[in-house]
Amino acid sequence: MPEPLLDVRAIDAFYGDFQALFGVSLTVNVGEVAAVIGANGAGKSTLLKTIAGMMTPRHGNILFNGEAIGGAAAFDVLKLGIALVPEGRRLFPSLTVEENLLIGGQSRRPGPWTLDRVYQLFPVLAERRRLPAPALSGGQQQMCAIARALMANPRLLLCDEISLGLAPIVVRDIYAQLPAIVAEGLSLIVVEQDIAQALKAAARVYCLQEGRVALQGPARELTRERIAAAYFGV
């Protein structure tokens, strides 16, 4: 049994008095892709935000590489090697494409990802490096957001709904690049509403329902019926 890279142990997370996560546990091994699926409001984004240090879990632990990181600030979590591609991309609008990437790389973590490498991965970004980020199409903005997170040379990349609002063909293009990213030794958590996409990309799937893990297991062992039951709670 390999030591997991990320070990989330029974965390509870709150927005004020509203509890969004109830004892959620999840593990990701080195080089593994895990998918988190679930309906709107199931707590998927909250889970990623909590791992990335944007929220503090009220109970439970988050171990990254054996080190407790629950409650650490986002900029410290990034320096340890966890980068988040936030929901809705959230590029810096007053920065150019290249400046967005350079902000991602300013933590100076050593690793394979450089400007040249991310431009190889997404050549269209190289063509448009001098444009302001809002001038990109939705799919290009998503590529830029992924590339920006890669620039930090994370060991674990968290992708929140990277297919949201994009044409299916663009989603396919972006997902086609994930194996190249994982090949560099990264681990990945993708949060998706598009279940088929998630099952194809991931080795392990967690289904959240109303803040609890309703179902988990290797992607190939989960049937449509079991996922439907866990997804909708019927």
Binding site: F75, R90, L95, L102, S107
Partner: protein
């Protein structure tokens, strides 16, 4: 020719107003903090320069080598130790805290230095002038002051758009939460912005103190000039701030020519007219 001279003097003093304004504009742009104590910090810088020049026996312009870093460090500490705790969704806490800071600085200076008027002595350079055109005389010191102002504005502009620190400022201004996700410690970024702001304040304070008398009570009026220059020029645009300062300086010069009592009033009137006709300023960059 008299009018040309007048406008020229107005332009040159406008550089000083632009320096009052630049630091104000910088921190509002980066962290949406309206620093009510800004004018008093300018006066504080003048007193720091007074102490440095008297203690070391150096001239005011040389004292900048010490006053600028002293004020920058003070700015960093002020932000980390106090102002960072006031920032959040609500604009009111930083407003109230800097208002309190303004009162503390004024009264602290009054206790320490008394209400006497002071002035920094720059020596012969203060009265040197040269004839630029027939009938047009330009003072050396105002010219230096204007050149420094242009250099400061150009430097800030370059720093904002061509350095990693400037990139961090703009990213943090766009989206604080994501800036933190990208590894930027916003508490540090804000403190660097305040340090830079007070470095500019130090330069403005020294020129203010060489040009005219100062005492602990004159800060708020400098704050108003700074605000007016920022608003006239348009928020978030450094070159616009320089133009704003010049518009204010020229208005005051013309007002003073009409009636000596009208100097400050004319500046305020022009400001109000521009605010009425073009609330976003002459050269707006950011909205909201």
């Amino acid at each position: 020719m008299q009018w040309f001279n007048l406008i020229l003097q107005g332009v040159l003093i406008g550089g000083l107003y632009a320096m009052f304004a630049a630091g104000l504009s910088l921190i509002f742009g980066v962290m949406r903090l309206v620093n009510i104590a800004h004018g008093d910090l300018i006066v504080l810088a003048a007193y720091v320069a007074l102490m440095v020049t008297q203690t070391l026996g150096i001239d005011p312009l040389t004292s900048l080598l010490l006053v600028v870093p002293i004020m920058a460090i003070l700015g960093y500490a002020l932000q980390r130790g106090l102002l960072n705790f006031t920032l959040g969704q609500d604009l009111l806490p930083p407003l109230l805290v800097t208002f309190g800071l303004s009162i503390i600085i004024q009264n602290g200076l009054l206790e320490w230095f008394t209400a006497d008027s002071r002035k920094l002595q720059a020596g012969a350079i203060e009265i040197q002038a040269f004839q630029a055109l027939p009938d047009v005389w330009v003072g050396v010191l105002p010219l230096i002051q204007f050149a420094v102002a242009v250099t400061v504005i150009a430097g800030l502009q370059a720093l904002f758009y061509y350095t990693p620190l400037g990139r961090a400022f703009r990213a943090t201004s766009d989206d604080q939460a994501v800036a933190q996700l990208m590894g930027l410690d916003t508490r540090h970024v804000f403190a660097m912005a305040m340090a830079l702001s007070l470095a500019v304040v130090a330069i403005a304070g020294v020129f203010l103190a060489v040009r005219a008398n100062f005492d602990p009570s004159i800060g708020p009026a400098r704050l108003i000039f700074g605000f007016e220059a920022v608003i006239i020029g348009g928020l978030g645009n450094m070159w616009g701030t320089l133009i704003g300062g010049i518009v204010l300086g020229v208005s005051q010069a013309i007002g003073a020519q009409i009636d000596p009592g009208w100097q400050v009033l004319a500046g305020h009137i022009v400001f109000l007219i521009i605010l009425g006709l073009r609330p976003q300023g002459l050269f707006p960059k950011v909205s909201g």
